[in-house]
């Protein structure tokens, strides 16, 4: 390291310092045009003078040390053990629609299985003409497809059913990522085995120590599901199911079985633990919805947000966020700065792909006053993201899953931001 800055310095320290700086500058935006000379310009810097690392210093490239705070984070008290736990994507540090491979949230039920692809097999059996076993080499001889899809855990934002809980979109909305997958159509594999007419459901099972298993309607399996071995142009990461995972576009993340090893065809669902004890949505009347597979239309403002306060004082501000729907494309996102009294349509930028994240922006001049920021997504089928109160009025507060309610961030005059609920 030739630099004298402090990579890896506590993010909080940086934030606190930044906030004070912002306060000092507040109101001085115009005056700052006439600032004194800066030493980063007038003095020769080390990087300007001495050569840096040669080509092979990082054979597999890593982010700048100044980005060391951009990491997945876990909330330790949520679960008993990191082996069956969750961490969250740092949405507030990202832009565009593709999540970098190393920042995709992780949810494992028995840790990350480490599998040599040479020892991995995928079996298809049950109501099929010919039970088959495929090696990885076999799978790569089927026609490949490249598709961009979001994956959201059904429990994303689940903590917020009972009201504002966690201060940061990483924690409220970070069980979410969007990747380009490379893989083969599940339909092609099933056709190879020949599904019998009685076949209506598919059981997908993982090779990890939790033996994750989910029942999936055959229609969905035959429609757009993939068996993926690639993400963002390279092999899947171990945390995402290396060597193969199931891709179930638009449907809850738990169904996208990682380390996929077995597909069984049957005539009814298996009612396994992850579709009975878990991933069923308890209503206020004590009854529970099941097979709530599809992810509803949803959005969140990622910047500014509690972990990404406004540090620059008043003046031009870029508000940005993500929107998505398990039913297809997002057609529109509206944003409000007054807590839902008045809405403005935001600007969507970048590719608009079905069942993928969409990026939105709204640029405005902040006058330093208090703001209540919200975003509201509308998908191509006309489904509008509901408010949390609308959801609670029908479902109560114990559903855990499928909370796609409108999120509120409160911005105070210092640019500090908090997760709140409002009238």
């Amino acid at each position: 390291m030739t630099s004298n800055a402090r990579p890896g310095a506590s993010r909080r320290a940086v934030l606190k310092g930044g906030l004070m700086g912002a306060a000092a500058l507040a109101g001085g935006a115009a005056a700052s045009r006439a600032a004194a000379s800066e030493s980063v310009i007038t003095e020769i810097q080390d990087w300007n003078r001495y050569p840096g690392d040669g080509v092979d210093a990082r054979p597999y490239g890593t982010p700048s040390p100044f980005e060391a705070h951009v990491v997945r984070k876990n909330v330790p008290w949520l679960t008993s053990d990191t082996i069956s736990s969750i961490n969250f994507t740092p949405l507030h540090e990202l832009d565009g629609i593709i999540t970098p491979s190393g920042l995709c949230f992780e949810r494992h039920h028995s840790g990350v299985a480490e599998i040599d692809p040479a020892s991995h097999r995928l079996m298809i059996h049950g109501l099929v003409e010919k039970p088959l076993v495929f090696t990885m080499a076999d799978l790569k001889r089927f026609p490949r497809e490249n598709r961009v899809y979001f994956l959201e855990c059904a429990a994303n934002t689940g903590m917020e059913w009972r009201g504002a809980q966690l201060n940061g979109c990483q924690f409220t909305h970070g069980m979410l990522h969007c990747l380009m997958y490379t893989g083969v159509r599940l339909k092609h594999l099933l056709d190879e085995a020949g599904v019998k007419a009685e076949g209506k459901w598919l059981l997908a099972e993982g090779a990890d120590a939790s033996g994750m298993s989910r029942s999936i309607p055959l229609d969905k399996a035959m429609d757009d599901c993939l068996v993926a071995f690639g993400m963002n142009g390279e092999a899947l990461r171990p945390e995402q199911g290396y060597p193969i995972r199931l891709v179930v576009p638009g449907w809850e993340g738990n169904m996208w079985v990682k380390w996929l090893r077995r597909l069984e065809i049957g005539d009814q669902p298996w009612q396994h633990r992850e579709e009975t004890s878990k991933y069923t949505d308890l209503m206020a009347n004590g009854k529970a919805r099941r097979f709530t597979f599809e992810m509803d239309v949803k959005s969140v403002i990622t910047n500014p947000s509690p972990q990404a306060p406004i540090l620059h004082g008043r003046g031009p501000l870029v508000l940005s966020g993500l929107a998505w729907s398990g039913k297809g494309r997002i057609s529109r996102v509206d944003v409000t700065t007054d807590g839902g009294r008045n809405w403005t349509t935001a600007r969507l930028d970048g590719p608009s792909l079905p069942k993928a994240l969409h990026r939105f922006y709204h640029e405005f001049d902040w006058d330093g006053s208090e703001l209540f920021l919200q975003s509201r997504a509308i998908d191509e089928h006309g489904f509008v993201q509901p408010t949390k109160d609308q959801l609670r009025s029908v479902r109560g507060a114990n559903s855990i899953y499928h909370n796609n309610g409108i999120q509120t961030w409160h911005v105070n005059s210092d640019g500090v931001i908090e997760n709140v609920e409002i009238s």
Partner: protein, 369 residues
């Protein structure tokens, strides 16, 4: 409305005939049918709009999206409302253009024979958006731009066309799975008892195994140690402020207990329990949940399905689309939507949630799953 039962029937025929893998002869037959359209439509690399729009890449394309073609208001509106030309919608439209979409200006009587419809769609599907041969079944290149989208977003750039096509049908890849291999992996059990292995075990025997291999995490009575899962109790709490969802209070089927314990427990040493052990543990979990009360009770393959869990009837299928805010698909309010200024009713309960700050021991929120 552009969905008719007839169209759905036709679509079923189409799917049975697997458009994605249309046989060469279907495409050939479709080319002959297309003679009826040629007066008004062109396809291929040099296609231009005539009386009707260019039909390159039509399968998967949103309706009324060919630039420079003047569509009828009816067709433009259908496109803006989300009509996409897929096998179903095309089948309905080509079968009876007038009835399918009132007010559209395609002066064509329709194709009466289902196979003509199937074949002409197969033929159209063989052209990509640029008029070159298309790959069947790929994500539609041109997204449906939405007229309600007032944002300045550009629709996705069409993905580059691939040349050549993917044949469907068997490839002869993979090898036969042996019965022994299937038996080794296929341990799953269903509510109707399918998949249950031979075997049996008593409550008393289950207690011995449980105390040795499960109690450290799940507690002596299934009440759980720390944050490990609770396995028993909670009856009558499903409508309470803090429901406790356990095998006895929530789970609909006993088969799930057998299946799950067999595949995933004890945590850290999965798949180490024999079939008789799992029957015994399942019997003991019934006992801890007051569903059986006799320590000598023996659970076996034979009596397994006679046992029902108390909460079985309280599950219902997904009906979210009927919820008032989804059923009503109207335009949301844009101005003066709520009276008065916004006021905070609740602050984040857990302010410092980051690992550096440690967080709070007991959050008021629900668990993660």
């Amino acid at each position: 409305m552009w969905k008719s039962p007839k169209a759905i029937l036709l679509a079923a025929t189409l799917i049975a005939g697997a458009i994605g893998g249309a046989e060469a002869q279907d495409i050939e037959a479709g080319e002959k049918v297309f003679a009826k359209c040629k007066a008004c439509h062109m396809v291929g690399e040099n296609a231009k709009n005539r009386v009707g729009p260019v039909l390159n890449g039509i399968v998967g394309r949103a309706a009324a999206t060919i630039e420079g073609f003047k569509y009828s208001p009816a067709m433009s509106k259908a496109g803006a409302d989300g009509l996409v030309w897929d096998e179903t919608s095309l089948a309905g439209y080509l079968h009876d253009p007038k009835a399918y979409l009132k007010g559209n200006k395609m002066a064509f009587a329709g194709l009466k024979k289902d196979e003509d419809v199937v074949n002409v769609i197969a033929y159209l599907a063989s052209f990509g958006a640029d008029g070159k041969p298309a790959v069947p079944g790929k994500q539609s290149a041109a997204p449906a731009p939405d007229a309600t989208q007032t944002a300045t977003a550009e629709p996705a750039a069409p993905s580059p066309e691939t040349t050549g096509s993917v044949a469907d049908g068997e490839r002869g890849l993979g090898r036969a799975a042996t019965p022994e291999e299937i038996a080794a992996w296929d341990t799953d059990v269903r509510p109707d008892g399918v998949g249950l292995p031979e075997g049996s075990g008593t409550v008393a025997h289950g207690m011995e195994i449980y105390d040795e291999r499960c109690a450290t995490c799940h507690g002596d009575f299934g009440e759980a140690v720390g944050r490990w899962p609770v396995l028993a109790g909670g009856q009558g709490t499903l409508q309470a402020e803090r429901p406790e969802k356990t095998i006895g209070s929530y789970w609909p089927y006993l088969s799930t207990v057998f299946d799950y314990v067999h595949r995933a427990m004890p945590f850290g040493d999965a798949r180490s329990l024999g079939n008789d052990d799992v029957y015994a543990l399942t019997a003991y979990l019934l006992y801890l949940n007051d569903i059986v009360d006799d320590e000598e009770f023996e659970l076996s393959k034979d009596n397994f399905t006679s046992i029902r869990l108390p909460n079985e009837e309280n599950f219902f299928d997904d009906d979210r689309e009927q919820e008032p805010f989804y059923a009503d698909r109207s335009e949301p309010c844009m101005t003066d939507c709520r009276p008065g200024a916004a006021a905070i009713t609740m602050h984040a309960a857990v302010l410092d949630v980051t690992p550096e700050d440690g967080g709070e021991e007991n959050a008021s929120g629900g668990g993660i799953d």
